[in-house]
Symmetry: C2
Subunit: 139 residues, 2 copies
């Protein structure tokens, strides 16, 4: 049996985060000692490990909830899982594309800027006037 602190250490989670997962129903309420402290078994360790791993891969808590539910229904088609992962992948790809646009624009701004005074700073000029931008990064 693990204390919440031990579970936290093993999974690289903060203690408060574990309690938060319990609050929102992502982790089940564990057993308690007579004094009211939480004690966790192997199943909790696995479940929290799964959650943290999915979080590290950027999945949102709602998606993780769905993945955990599916994990408990071994006969459902795998495509249900794939669907969630694919959705997430698309989201990641969208975010990469957006950030690449920003990177380009920031790079260009910085490249054009000499070592003068603020009054003639290209960075500020570009920020003042969107027309100076090559890309439409507003989306």
């Amino acid at each position: 049996m693990l204390t919440i602190g031990a579970l936290a250490k093993k999974t690289g989670t903060k203690v408060q985060t574990i309690r938060y997962y319990e609050d929102i129903g992502l982790m089940p309420s564990p057993e308690r000692t007579e004094g009211g402290q939480r004690r966790y078994g192997a199943a909790s360790l696995d479940r929290l490990g799964f959650i943290r791993h999915a979080r590290n891969l950027g999945f949102g808590l709602d998606a993780i909830r769905e993945l955990l539910d599916l994990s408990d229904r071994p006969d459902r088609p795998c495509s249900d899982v794939d669907e969630i992962a694919r959705r997430h992948l698309q989201d990641v790809e969208r975010r990469i594309a957006r950030l690449e646009t920003l990177r380009l624009e920031l790079d260009r701004m910085l490249a054009e800027c000499g070592a003068g005074r603020v009054s003639e700073c290209r960075v500020l000029e570009v920020l003042r006037d969107h027309a100076e931008c090559l890309t439409d990064h507003s989306v």
Copy 2:
């Protein structure tokens, strides 16, 4: 003189967002009509345009505050501005790198998964066991 709604439309901002910027001191308190409604002049339009443009480029509100302050001190060296932009660029690059790692891992998970049942789903297996991952995406 513009109403808050007109200013919102011109800058692609929500009305509430403008009031929020005023609350946190990013936009100055504008004039008011006798009835207490806000009325904005050209300076406000410029300032909000600047803010929105910087937001679209991903700058945080604190960075924007610094940029606006510098914008009002034309004799300061341009490097002060560059420093802020460079910091932001680095942040963007870090986020891209992180997302690229995720993309790779998600891609691989999905590629390995056949059209079977959840019980033999590679996606879930990988999530259950971090050792299955090629990259250390926990950072």
